[in-house]
């Protein structure tokens, strides 16, 4: 290894959600420090939902995040509904899937176009990109508007879906709205093709490190909501046994916790879902994967963003299919499914844009929450991010310091970390 000195401190990494620092210290070719420090303030959601009635939980926890509020609402409702034994109607189930797809597209287009793409075009952010790649920016805005409108149509508004409630929805979109939305989604296929073509040309950094990939899995569809926990190391668990996988622990330099299972760390997110459930992708999404040169097992973390492109294609197609099904069945306003309050406990899980999410609640016999545990996907990724950084750094140590810094930034960004989500926990003791 070359006898270099490298000193990098990226304070508040840009183009990620939330706040974190990259710290690298290399003396005479020896790596002293190489890590990502999460500095975001803790948010204490698991504490302040205690004492709140079950009907409020999804509305409160949706505030954990702005870009993944549908994901939190969904996991939260899954947990409460399982605890209470509430059965959703088929229509409600379809609508839950539809709004989930809306958020997948919304979040992924934001990440791939606004947060990742600028790195490949030599831009600091989206505004300079407008000068040189106007069509690309216009396309991103179009896709973002479409997905935002889809979420608003089903959830009542773009962010924090107020229409989602225990047992179903307080509002149902009409047939005309659904048809109009479907037409826009069909039209968006052209934008999806352009997106795949664009991301297929990008020079993704060459870096491979196999890890364990963890996601949900279902027998009948590419899993986003419910199912079982599946890992590429061959483990399957019911959702209720999530703690066998997540094993959270605190590290001194981070306000977010880490996780490990079969190996030192594991990865969640689009790439994990792709590696586990590739066979269940829509044919158009598989075509997109082929154009991007992706087939499981993909072990380059930078390609998490490419997996997101594949999922955008899948979600557009599955949304079109779901609307077909809703229209064929005939959509009609439905009151949320009835339920009885009782002392109970439930775990809900969904695979939100950034990875597998768990919400676990315990209620007393008045339906008041007495305990909550939320395991955030980004938290589960930190150990893997750090392992990747430590494996990647020696491979790039001979490059100019500025390039090293940039590549490490791109590596963290590839995970699409939602740092505010990940620093939500209860209390910390530094020993």
């Amino acid at each position: 290894m070359s006898q270099v000195d490298v000193n990098i401190h990226v304070h508040h990494l840009t183009r990620v959600e939330g706040h974190g620092d990259i710290v690298v210290d290399v003396k005479n070719g020896e790596i002293k420090t190489c890590r990502f420090e999460v500095v975001e303030a803790p948010r204490f959601f698991e504490a302040f939902v205690r004492g709140r009635p079950y009907s409020e939980l999804s509305h409160i926890t949706s505030r954990i995040c702005g870009i993944c509020s549908v994901g939190h609402s969904t996991a939260s409702l899954e947990a409460t509904e399982k605890a209470l034994g509430v059965q959703l109607t088929e229509q409600a189930r379809l609508l839950r899937k539809l709004i989930f797809h809306g958020e997948i597209i919304d979040s992924h287009v934001l990440h791939t176009y606004y947060l990742v793409a600028p790195d490949f075009f030599g831009a600091h952010s989206v505004i300079p990109l407008v000068e040189t790649h106007r069509d690309v920016v216009l396309r991103a805005l179009r896709i973002k508007k479409l997905s935002g409108d889809l979420c608003a149509m089903v959830g009542g508004r773009h962010t924090h879906p107020c229409a989602m409630t225990v047992g179903g929805f307080t509002h149902t979109p009409g047939e005309k709205e659904l048809r109009a939305m479907q037409a826009r989604l069909i039209e968006a296929r052209a934008d999806m093709d352009e997106t795949v073509a664009l991301f297929a040309t990008l020079p993704w950094p060459a870096f491979e490190r196999e890890t364990e990939y963890v996601s949900l899995s279902k027998p009948d569809e590419y899993a986003f909501i419910g199912g079982q926990i599946k890992t590429t190391d061959g483990f399957i668990y019911p959702i209720e046994e999530y703690q066998k996988v997540t094993n959270e622990w605190c590290v001194p330099f981070s306000t977010a916790k880490w996780a490990r299972h079969n190996r030192e760390s594991y990865m969640v997110g689009a790439l994990a879902r792709f590696n586990n459930n590739y066979e269940q992708l829509h044919p158009r999404a598989k075509e997109a994967a082929a154009k991007l040169g992706m087939k499981p097992l993909v072990t380059n973390p930078f390609l998490n963003s490419a997996a997101q492109v594949i999922e955008m294609v899948h979600s557009v197609e599955d949304s079109i299919r779901i609307i077909d099904e809703l229209l064929t069945r005939g959509v009609k306003p439905e009151a949320p499914a009835p339920h009885q309050v009782k002392a109970c406990e439930g775990v809900g899980s969904c695979d939100v844009p950034r990875g597998i999410l768990f919400h676990h609640y315990v209620y007393d016999d008045n339906g008041i929450c007495v305990r909550a545990n939320c395991i955030i996907p980004t938290n589960q990724n930190w150990a893997n991010v750090n392992a990747d950084m430590q494996a990647f750094l020696p491979q790039i140590l001979d490059r100019p310091q500025d390039e090293i810094r940039h590549l490490l930034e791109m590596l963290v960004r590839a995970y699409d970390p939602c740092i505010s989500c990940s620093t939500h926990f209860l209390n910390v003791t530094f020993v």
Binding site: R15, E17, I127, V130, L138, L141
Partner: protein, 152 residues
């Protein structure tokens, strides 16, 4: 004949909520025909879509304009020296300056705009406006409606 009054800001951060509070006041008072008052919130890049399609827009936002709390200054986008954030860390952090810059860069036609910047007293966490800003709302409402009425 479609005019919009858009109040921007976060009502959970003290006087930053002056925009949404003004919108509420105008909706209570009742608006002239063809005029809509919209709570623009903290929409970031979404503001770009909100601005589209109107004949004339009046924006109201809390702003450092070098005056006493509650006093307001009226200007057009060209008249202001904008402090744009150099590094847009995320779309959530896009403010009015960034949105106008993006619209310019995209060559998106924007309607004629007048902006009212209201000097805040406090921007820390808390609902409700400071007394000075609260007291200024009626005069602000009159000024905003007069601006809508003017010939371009």
């Amino acid at each position: 004949m479609q005019y919009a009054i858009i109040g921007l800001g976060n009502p959970l951060r003290g006087d930053d909520g002056v925009g949404p509070h003004l919108v509420e006041l105008l909706q209570r008072r009742g608006l002239p025909e063809g005029v809509t008052a919209i709570d623009g919130g903290t929409g970031g890049i979404g503001l770009l879509e909100l601005l589209a399609g109107w004949e004339r827009v009046v924006l109201v936002d809390a702003a450092e304009v070098g005056c006493a709390p509650g006093q307001f200054v009226r200007f057009t986008p060209d008249q202001a020296r904008w402090d744009e954030t150099q590094d847009m860390a995320s779309l959530h952090q896009a403010g009015l300056a960034e949105v106008l810059a993006l619209a310019r860069a995209l060559q998106r036609p924007l309607p004629p705009m007048v902006i009212f910047g209201v000097q805040p007293e406090r921007l820390d966490w808390g609902e409700g406006l400071s007394p000075a800003v609260e007291a200024a709302l009626p005069a602000l409402a009159d000024a905003v409606l007069a601006a809508i009425d003017e010939q371009p």
